[in-house]
Amino acid sequence: MQDYRNKPPLSYYRTALPSVDYSELQGKLIVIEGPDAVGRTTQVQRLKPWLEEYGHAVLDTGMARSALAGKGIREAKEGNTLGPITMTLYYATDFADRLENEIIPALRAGFVVLTDRYIFSIMARAIARGENRTWIERTAGFALVPHAVLYMRAEVKDLISRVVVGRGAFDYWESGLDLHFGKDMYESFVRYQSRLIQVFDNMAKPYGFQTIDASQSPDRVFASLQREIAKVVEMESPAQRAIRLKAARGAKAALKLVPGVAPAKSARKAAPAAKTAPKASAR
């Protein structure tokens, strides 16, 4: 597999989109990836207000949410004739529409774009279904290189408990039942999701994923995601910013605040749900 780790953020992986001026892009692109039922969506919902608290304008987006193809995909999944290549390309169409009409305009305007899944899920699903790796890698090669790909990794057993406890039933597509990976929903889910995890694992290195252990509690996962995001997005409260600017102007600096040092600590403060520290001290 080709190594894309030295590709700068907000350039394209392999193929430039026609009529896009890449030099205009200035926001931050953060990708949350991982298998089904790993808890991505919950985390994105918490990350958005956290980022906004720090004054960042956030666009959150995710699969099958495009104005163009979202409805068509949902309808196609309701039927029983959606083949694996067709599904892959339908999702690629949806992604292209969101990339060009939502993500790129938001980046141009300096937004933080938080995306629940990216091309890696499209690629993983295709590869797990036996489609040609080179074919889908090149097809998806018009995607922008993100500032960070946070891969929420868990074992199949963790996913199963989330599905059973959280949803109470296995989903047809999440179980890969379109290709009958196993005798029933459970067996198919186990085999299909194991393959997906394997494929994600193989992509981690060449695409520079930051792997987050998603078998931990949601709060710990949230804290890990915050830490990784703070490495690429400036996390400074308006008050901290004022102090820093004052210090920089040469005024008497009472506080020694270096930009980029505060995030982890202040992040915890800003997010009341992440109470790992108080719990530890109570013991």
């Binding site: 193809a69 409805k71 068509g72 196609a76 290549i85 390309l89 169409t93 090669g141």
Partner: protein
């Protein structure tokens, strides 16, 4: 670059390509009737006709939502659906599948829209290589003369209005078709098209096609290729 997968299935795939007004559909219709008389089970697949994708394409066109990339991808999705659900199963059954336009149409149109040439060729790598691909070669003025006038009003994407070549829809259509023609011409050797001179009489073109089919298929229907005498529901007329 390897384009398409070899057809290892018993059926045969015949493709007609060319710009609008080249007369390819007329010729395909005549050829299919002749193949039926020779005992083949013949079926059709038309460009942009997947029921699964139809509504999305319609919405995108109506609201003029497409970019060159999403336009290319939705047509590939449409193609994939027809291939997975229709063309491949019929080839497995041993039918002759006649395709009015194939991936070559995307190679020509999408590249004119600014899509990367190598990217769109890779996009269709899952397609089956046709047994025969006929290209109907016609000068631009002849094709335009056949269609402008005797037809409905031109549509936005059909005329390539999204390229901004001209604000006049008919002029835009001319320029767009001219560029597509150039792409087709450049593809002849790369794709191994059988070139049919579409300025000749309909009869002469058909004679030439039949000669090529006989040469390729042989005079006797090969074993494994379904005949119309085998009455399979939905396959024969």
């Amino acid at each position: 670059m390897p384009v398409f997968l070899q057809n290892r299935l018993p059926g045969r795939l015949i493709v007609v390509e060319g710009i609008d007004g080249s007369g390819k559909s007329t010729q395909m219709s005549l050829l299919s009737q002749w193949l039926r008389r020779r005992g083949y089970a013949v079926t059709f697949s038309e460009w942009n006709s997947s029921p699964l994708v139809h509504e999305t394409t319609r919405r995108g066109k109506k609201k003029e939502m497409f970019t060159p990339t999403s336009f290319s991808l939705i047509h590939a999705t449409d193609f994939a659906d027809r291939l997975e659900q229709y063309i491949i199963p019929l080839l497995k059954a041993g039918a002759v599948v006649c395709a009015d336009r194939y991936a070559y149409t995307a190679f020509a149109r999408d590249v004119v829209r600014g899509v990367d040439r190598a990217w769109v060729r890779n996009l269709y790598r899952f397609a089956i290589k046709p047994s025969l691909a006929f290209y109907f070669k016609v000068p631009l003025d002849v094709a335009l003369g056949r269609i402008l006038g005797g037809r409905d009003a031109l549509k936005y994407y059909e005329a390539g209005m999204d390229l901004g070549l001209s604000r006049n829809i008919e002029e835009s259509f001319r320029l767009f078709q001219g560029r597509i023609l150039e792409e087709y011409e450049a593809m002849i050797d790369e794709m191994g098209f059988h070139v049919i001179d579409a300025t000749k009489s309909i009869e002469a073109q058909q004679k030439e096609m039949r000669r090529i089919v006989l040469h390729e298929f042989g005079r006797v229907r090969p074993p494994g290729v379904l005949g119309t005498e085998v009455r399979v529901a939905g396959l024969s007329q």
